[in-house]
């Protein structure tokens, strides 16, 4: 035991010296050894504890409804009714379905969906797909949408991020009204929306959903007209220009990137 701890100390020092002197190669090697040693130490300690037989209760991990991740995301997106980014999807799901979403698995989701679509088009009732940028009809960074939504809803013009945000706020507020007794997570979510919408509420006081929705509608008035114009124009283009897969997952320019010569 002592020996291992001393070794760990020594390795840590080594790694730090290596990184400090910019020697990445050596650092990597040392780090590997260190992790190994730490693992050994952990094992050994664990073994000791087993002997001393401390009946530590097994971890009780909060297990939500065992839906596949795409179902959970679909639920959240359905609440929002607009393309949304990971953070928001997770927050919404947490607020209304009370089970945590594994963020890690979300990142790969869009790629998986695209693969499955290209393998067997339209074999699923819906796909979690991309939102498309209005100008280039390319996938908008980090946004998820539902394939069954009309194209107008899935294209993103310059005003759309704000418009979507306001619409999401309205939807969340309304769902909150419908919910029998909304939990604190839902309350927090609404508050986070309210802070950033003029006239939606003041200070840290819990806000009433109607007021938030009303405020959101008021600002929406300002943007919606112009936004809708851009979106429907883009949607029209998309319907003509893009083939099926692109309709859902966007088109990418493939430029051979010239290697930056520092200039």
């Amino acid at each position: 035991m002592e020996a291992i701890e001393r070794r760990i100390e020594k390795l840590r020092a080594e790694v730090r010296r290596a990184t400090a002197s910019g020697d990445r190669v050596r650092a990597r090697a040392m780090r590997a050894e260190l992790r190994e040693a730490e693992h050994v130490w952990d094992e050994a300690l664990a073994a000791l504890e087993e002997k001393s037989a401390t009946a530590s209760s097994a971890p009780v991990s909060r297990s939500g409804p065992l839906l596949p991740i795409r179902e959970q995301v679909h639920q959240a997106l359905t609440v929002l009714g607009t393309p949304a980014a990971q953070r928001l999807i997770i927050a919404v799901h947490d607020a209304f379905f009370g089970s945590p979403l594994a963020a890690a698995r979300l990142t790969s989701l869009r790629r998986d969906e695209e693969r499955s679509f290209r393998a067997a088009p339209y074999s699923r009732p819906y796909y979690l797909c991309a939102a498309l940028t209005a100008d280039l009809l390319a996938p908008a960074r980090g946004l998820l949408a539902v394939s069954t939504w009309p194209m107008e809803r899935r294209v993103i013009g310059p005003l759309s991020p704000r418009v979507n945000y306001l619409e999401a706020a309205i939807r969340v507020a309304e769902s909150l009204l419908r919910a029998p007794e909304p939990g604190p997570a839902a309350q927090r979510l609404l508050r986070r929306f309210a802070v950033n919408i003029p006239g939606a509420g003041d200070g840290a006081k819990p806000r009433d959903p109607q007021r938030v929705a009303a405020a959101a509608r008021a600002e929406l008035e300002v943007h919606s007209g112009e936004d809708r114009a851009v979106r429907s124009e883009a949607a029209a283009r998309a319907r003509i220009q893009l083939h099926d897969a692109e309709q859902l997952f966007g088109s990418r320019i493939r430029v051979i990137p010239r290697t930056g010569t520092g200039a």
Binding site: S21, R87, L88, L136, P158, V195
Partner: protein
């Protein structure tokens, strides 16, 4: 040999370290240092060089700081910059209709810098031209600035337009503003970096035929407030930083005069093999580095990767003890000379006579004072 070729030789067989706002800002921290000027102009990897010469820099960034920084920026920009819009509206009077958001971090899934820069240029030009309803928030635009002859790509966090009818550089930093105040050095660094972006943005718009007034000299600094994660925006006047930067950049243009003084064969090449291991002997490097005069002051310890090397070189000089100390010692250059003059064993040169008188008086006082131990 052209200056460019000369600088390439000095850097050695590695691609130049690209400048960024931080390194450009650093040009102002010790502009009197020829060593630093040459290395920066040549794009030398000072961190690695110092390490190979046996004096690894005392820097390095904690991943906690990095994570925190990214998380904060992401939070402020989430949902079409919802939080940022609130700050710009409440704090700086951005009109409600101004919510347009353009993401310039990639162009249709492509992240080539040329492409991004071209798109940045066209979008900003359009906004400038049509004034209203043509873009308000531009996320991660890619600008360009000529530094020592090379075109450097710069990526401000965000640029806001239609704020008082001008473009504003928005800089997001994760250091806290507590009761309206933040760490003065961090703010200074942020201000200088913003100034770099302002310069680059003005250069871009000048190319489109717009005057400097199209870009505000007030940058918007967004930081977490007090001990929360809630962001707060403050306007920072960067006019001083702009004048300083312009001057230092123009001096960097004249780097050739400096380069000419150096031995033609000079190079800091580390002889790195394909495994990424450097083979150049430290002694050789040391010799090479020393051919370029440095201007070490203790403040370098906070800003320059070469600091430990230069400090070691400067041992025994009064400069190594700090500006004030050197002043108080009558600008005598070395410690040994100071002590020699003080105890009279060194006969002062004419220009040292007064310093000598002063030092002797000081030495006498320390001697005479019980416990002075002089």
């Amino acid at each position: 040999m052209t200056t460019e070729a000369r600088l390439d030789r000095i850097r050695g067989a590695v691609p130049p370290r690209n400048h960024n706002a931080r390194t450009i800002a650093a040009l102002t921290s010790n502009p009197g240092c020829a060593r630093r000027a040459i290395m920066d102009a040549a794009g030398v990897d000072k961190q690695r060089l110092a390490a190979c010469a046996g004096f690894p820099a005392p820097f390095g960034q904690s991943q906690f700081a990095i994570t925190r920084g990214n998380a904060f920026e992401a939070q402020v920009k989430a949902n079409g910059c919802a939080e940022l819009l609130r700050l710009l509206r409440e704090g700086l009077g951005l009109p409600i209709p101004e919510v347009s958001y353009d993401d310039l971090e990639e162009v249709a899934g492509n992240t080539s810098r040329e492409l991004r820069h071209a798109r940045t240029r066209s979008l900003l030009a359009r906004a400038a031209a049509s004034g209203a309803d043509a873009g308000t928030l531009f996320d991660h635009p890619l600008l360009r600035l000529a530094v020592a002859g090379q075109q450097v790509y710069l990526e401000p966090d965000l640029i806001a337009f239609q704020l008082h009818g001008q473009f504003h550089v928005v800089e997001m930093k994760s250091f806290a503003v507590i009761d309206g105040q933040a760490d003065g050095d961090k703010v200074a660094a942020a201000a200088t970096q913003s100034a770099v972006y302002v310069l680059a943005l003005r250069e871009l718009l000048a190319g489109e035929g717009y005057g400097p007034d199209s870009v505000s000299h007030e940058a918007v600094l967004v930081c977490p407030e007090n001990f929360s994660n809630a962001p707060v925006a403050t306007l920072v006047d960067v006019r001083k930083q702009l004048t300083v930067l312009r001057r230092q950049l123009s001096r960097l243009e004249r780097i050739d005069s400096l380069a000419e003084l150096l031995p033609p064969g000079l190079t800091f090449d580390l002889m790195i093999d394909e495994a990424g291991v450097a083979f150049r002997p430290a002694a050789e490097l040391t010799e090479a580095i020393r051919t370029v005069p440095a201007r070490y002051v203790p403040e370098c310890l906070a800003s320059c990767e070469m600091c430990y090397f230069c400090r070691d070189e400067a041992r025994g000089t009064t400069a190594a003890l700090g500006r004030d100390v050197r002043d108080d010692l009558g600008a005598v250059e070395t410690v040994s000379a100071v002590l020699g003059l003080a105890d009279g064993t060194l006969t002062p040169a004419d220009e040292q006579a007064e310093a000598a008188a002063m030092l002797q008086a000081a030495a006498r006082l320390r001697r005479e004072t019980p416990g002075g131990a002089a």
